[in-house]
């Protein structure tokens, strides 16, 4: 072992981070071995190439486009002078990264079940990326791009490296809220790029909510015409949605659309008269509206048609149906609802909520969709299908979020964690530390229970966030969550993470991402307003 291997064992992690370029990876791979032996990359000749035995070959959109993207990320878009090697090649160089995948899913969408594992081998003989799927190859390409570094003289190098990598959790999501504030299409697309840099694979799109309804529905065009901030400028057209889904697909990212009901629906009201519950003060309607009216057949007819459209527009198997924070006061005030409760023999508004959700879930499952709901649906004991995914978002109420994880998995449901990862909550200083230290499986449970935790999501709610501050607030803070969900539970040394994250945020700046600093210091390339 006299060689200059960067043996990245724990006690040496910090030293390694300083000594070895490869140690700047984010998120950290499951297994890595790297050395100081390095190979030169020549931007003018370097290329990505399909292995002859690869199931995917030229023409595979996912990889073809990724090759182009990563070439540009590595070397910029400039043209490089032609190669001129004086005689024999006197330095160790790499002319290509050979990519081989076992199955070609080039025209498909990534799913919860998609394998994302890959092996990357860079040594004297090989520069090879192996993976089961194109999605795994995307992850490997990202890792490769982070391995390449530039010397002070401007030469590109990659070190001798062996990586065997796979995600710890299959669902690694980021939530954006386009209802509190409208986010321009470009903001969403840019976010998808940075998600890919962080190996996130689910874009949870909280499309609509009380304040606005920017989703342009073709079955119910009045929804956005009446419910958006501005139907000409503050909407997502069918074309926008398609573009987002395809852009995400090419980066191995699923789009999980959320249409939250029965609460959080005020903006639906103007476009669909009769959908919301009229609130009463005394015996008179007060003029205000509450949640979706669960006592009318017309409500379910609407939902049935509306979700038929949504099921067709969003290819992902899962839809997010919300179900959080239903305020019962308006239902309670409405005489029609009171009658309905009596007729059904409901004593508790939770039963009414349960009735609504249950009916809605039946509608959606009839379209061959699975669904994710917020934890209240579980807390309020709504009968749901056993394959429902429950998302935990409340930190302490009704119980500590870890206890909630335990209860949900105990009941046999799959769980997603986001309670400790509300990125919209900001405080002074390096708050990514706390998000990083979260251990999603730190609850009392059997291995079977732990297996039911499919991942988590970083959430950027939009009350105080729009395109003016989205990017610096997201990055690199969301990166902390990304690593927690991708890397091994043993990758938890804060000092080591700090070194790599500082480096990674400068790399993000280099890639044009307005990622904010995590401490004092500088990047070679600072953010420049255009």
């Amino acid at each position: 072992m006299g060689c200059s291997c960067c043996r990245l064992v724990f006690s040496l992690l910090l030293a390694a981070a300083l000594a070895c370029r490869a140690a700047a990876l984010w998120p950290w791979p499951q297994y890595i071995r790297t050395s100081h032996r390095r190979y030169t990359l020549y931007p003018n000749i370097f290329q990505f190439r399909y292995h002859a035995g690869s199931a995917a070959q030229a023409g595979c959109a996912v990889l073809d486009e990724a090759f182009q993207r990563y070439r540009k990320l590595l070397f910029g878009s400039g043209s490089w002078p032609r190669p001129s090697f004086p005689g024999k090649r006197f330095v160790l160089g790499k002319e290509m990264l050979v990519v081989s995948v076992a199955t070609a899913e080039c025209d498909e969408y990534p799913t919860l079940e998609s394998a994302e594992n890959y092996n990357l081998t860079i040594n004297d003989d090989k520069c090879l990326l192996l993976s089961d799927t194109v999605w795994g190859a995307l992850r490997g390409l990202e890792t490769f791009s982070q391995l390449v570094w530039k010397s002070a003289e401007g030469t590109f190098f990659v070190n001798k490296t062996r990586i065997r990598d796979f995600p710890r959790f299959p669902h690694r999501g980021l939530l954006l809220d386009t209802s509190r504030h409208y986010l321009p299409l470009s903001s969403i697309l840019d976010t998808l790029d940075v998600m890919a840099y962080n190996k996130f694979n689910v874009f949870h799109w909280h499309l609509v909510d009380d304040p606005s309804f920017p989703y342009e529905s073709f079955t119910y065009p009045q929804l956005s015409r009446k419910g958006s901030y501005n139907p000409a400028t503050h909407v997502y057209t069918a074309q926008d949605v398609k573009e987002i889904i395809e852009y995400a697909r090419l980066r191995g990212i699923r789009v999980l659309a959320e249409f939250d009901t029965p609460g959080h629906t005020l903006s639906w009201g103007p476009g669909v008269p009769g959908l919301l519950t009229p609130c009463y003060s005394g015996s008179q309607p007060s003029g205000t509206f509450g949640p979706v009216n669960p006592s009318l057949n017309s409500t379910y007819e609407f939902m049935s048609t509306f979700f038929l459209e949504i099921s067709a527009v969003f290819p992902d198997f899962y839809l997010h149906l919300g179900g959080d924070e239903v305020d019962f006061t308006c239902w309670r005030s409405n005489p029609g609802i009171q009658d309905f409760m009596k007729k059904k023999g409901f004593n508790d508004f939770k039963e009414l909520e349960s009735f609504y959700i249950h009916t809605l879930l039946d509608i959606v499952s009839a379209y061959d969709k699975g669904y994710v709901v917020w934890q209240e649906v579980f807390d309020n004991k709504v009968k749901v299908r056993p394959d429902t995914v429950i998302q935990v978002w409340r930190e302490t109420v009704p119980v500590d979020y870890m206890k909630e994880m335990e209860k949900i998995t105990q009941a046999g449901f799959r769980a997603l964690l986001s309670a400790p990862w509300y990125l919209n909550h900001i405080t002074y200083g390096p708050d990514w530390n706390d998000m990083y230290k979260v251990e999603p499986l730190a609850f009392d449970g059997t291995p079977e229970q732990e297996a039911l935790v499919i991942g988590g999501e970083a959430c950027m709610w939009g009350e105080y966030v729009d395109s003016t501050n989205l990017v610096p607030r997201l990055w690199p803070r969301a990166g902390a969550v990304a690593e927690r969900l991708w890397s091994s539970n043993l990758t938890n040394n804060l000092g080591f993470a700090y070194e790599r994250l500082s480096h990674f945020r400068c790399e993000l700046l280099r890639r044009g991402v307005q990622a904010q600093p995590i401490n004092v210091g500088y990047c070679e390339q600072e953010f420049e307003q255009t």
């Binding site: 504030h181 321009p184 395109s467 003016t468 904010q516 995590i518 600072e526 420049e528």
Partner: protein, 515 residues
């Protein structure tokens, strides 16, 4: 000296609008309304609407004005504000059909004092009214550029309304500083407090001591050249903004040490000389020779009357560890009281600044530690705990005060923290009328530990706007709901003018931030 400050609250400016009035039915009050920020001293707005057409509107010098087209400062401003009023509209609508109705064709600007077109703004300068005019103009729902017939009398409550930026913890590219000056003008801030160097880096390129930035900056591209500094000063001047540099000593100077050997105090550990360095070494003559030469340059480069000398958070442990300093303390009879050593240093530094005919501003510790300050020295109060008592004490001793304690914008939290900044009243401390006159203003400080060009603008605006109004508008402007409504519109206006000001709360702007 003192009359200068009270004089700043003098007659103010009169903005009177009268158009080519035609006997037409005045437009019914459209939903959009102008939102003034900060709120002027007095506003009388009639419901009578005047329309403005880009092709038929100009800003000109009034016949009685002492300024004329040779005044580049105003000419530049006329052009800028014409653009703010129309530039963004025409881009969206092309040539909108002009509706019938009374039309405003000309804004006459009259300056009554002697023309100061080529000089720099000072603590006693009057303020420009063009920003207010541009804020009165709004687009009605048909896209017509409209203004109400109005009569506004305005003058600032405080003469010193500053924004502190910190270019040492993180380097801010020049463009971002210029952009910040633009936004400051939209909020009637008039002082850029440029905390240019600190422990972490020394980006100021000194002509006399080029090694300071050669060795002390983050990299050779993370520097402000003399030309950069000139650009900042001129960009600020054209907007009526003073540039007040801060060169903080004797603490916060680690980055100075790299380029100026022997300036800092070597710290000792028990056994031998350690690698580490402490504050500036106050016991050697070379220190003062250096400071004299250095500040001579600074006093030439920065035209403002004031230089901020810092003086905060001096760590005594390094001084205490150094045997030479121990000996010196004994010789001078300072005992163990390092504040006396600090006082001696500051006193000599103040003397140097005075000899350069400049005035000094210092952080409150200098006052707290009992350094004798000349009258006219400004003390900046930054410690949050007991800041009102501190104001009482500072003004009681006849010194001028600037408040920034409640306005540390780098301290972020969830939600609408601008409200916290807005409800502060700088004169709420107990003290005589005369004492209150000694408070010349305040500053919103955006320290740079976690701030660089990526997040500067949304973190600063519109949160600093709350401070802007507090320092400009009369004391009785405290209706926070009204402030919210105006600020929401004002932030959208900033966004439209290219400032990525973050949202106050859920909602939208007609013209969202362009990425």
């Amino acid at each position: 000296m003192e009359r200068r400050w009270s004089g700043a609250r003098g007659p103010g400016l009169l903005l009177l609008l009268a158009g080519a009035l035609l006997a037409q039915t005045p437009g019914t009050a459209a939903e959009p309304e102008p939102a003034l920020w900060p709120l002027p001293l007095s506003v009388r707005m009639s419901p009578r609407l005047l329309r403005l057409a880009a092709s038929d509107f100009s800003i000109v010098h009034g016949p009685s004005s002492t300024a004329d087209p040779s005044c580049s400062l105003l000419e530049e401003a006329f052009r800028r504000y014409y653009d703010y009023i129309f530039g963004f509209h025409t881009r969206h609508h092309g040539f909108a059909k002009f509706q019938a109705g009374p039309q405003l064709q000309q804004l006459q600007v009259s300056i009554t004092l002697e023309s100061q077109c080529d000089s720099f703004p000072s603590l006693s300068s009057d303020e420009s009214c063009l920003e207010t005019f541009s804020q009165l103009v709004y687009e009605d729902s048909y896209g017509t550029v409209t203004i109400n017939e109005s009569n506004i009398v305005d003058s600032p409550r405080f003469a010193h309304r500053g924004i502190l930026i910190d270019t040492s913890r993180h380097y801010l590219p020049l463009k971002h500083i210029l952009k910040t000056l633009d936004a400051m003008a939209f909020n009637k801030f008039n002082v850029l407090h440029w905390h240019i160097v600190d422990d972490q880096s020394f980006p100021y390129q000194s002509v006399t001591f080029p090694q300071l930035s050669n060795k002390g900056s983050y990299s050779l591209s993370h520097v402000y050249t003399p030309n950069d500094v000139r650009k900042v000063i001129e960009h600020a001047r054209l907007r009526g903004i003073r540039v007040m540099p801060e060169f903080d000593t004797p603490g916060h100077t680690l980055s100075w040490g790299k380029g100026q050997k022997g300036l800092l105090t070597p710290c000792y550990n028990q056994i031998n000389k350690a690698q580490s360095m402490g504050p500036i070494n106050p016991i050697v003559n070379t220190t003062y020779t250096f400071l004299t030469t250095f500040f001579k340059e600074i006093s030439h480069v920065f035209p403002d009357q004031f230089i901020h000398l810092g003086g905060d958070e001096v760590d005594f442990s390094c001084w205490a560890s150094n045997p030479n300093i121990q000996t010196y303390m004994e010789k001078r009879g300072f005992g163990e009281d390092f504040r006396k050593l600090e006082a001696m240093y500051i006193k000599r530094l103040l003397g140097i600044i005075a000899s350069l005919n400049k005035s000094s501003i210092v952080w409150q510790e200098v006052f707290d530690d009992g350094v004798q300050l000349r009258p006219g020295t400004v003390v900046e109060v930054w410690k949050y705990n007991g800041y009102l008592q501190e104001l009482t004490k500072v003004t009681r001793s006849g010194l001028l005060a600037i408040l920034s304690a409640p306005w540390y914008l780098d301290w972020i939290s969830y939600g609408q923290d601008w409200r916290k900044y807005y409800v502060v009243d700088p004169l709420k401390f107990s003290g005589s009328e005369q004492q209150k006159q000694f408070v010349i203003g305040g500053e919103a400080c955006l320290w740079g530990e976690y701030v660089d060009a990526t997040n500067l603008t949304p973190r600063l605006w519109p949160r600093a706007s709350a401070v802007g109004e507090r320092l400009w508008s009369p004391q009785n402007v405290t209706d926070i709901n009204d402030a919210y409504n105006r600020l929401v519109i004002h932030r959208c206006r900033m966004v439209r003018r290219g400032i990525a000001a973050q949202p106050l709360f859920t909602g939208h702007c007609n013209y969202e931030n362009k990425i």
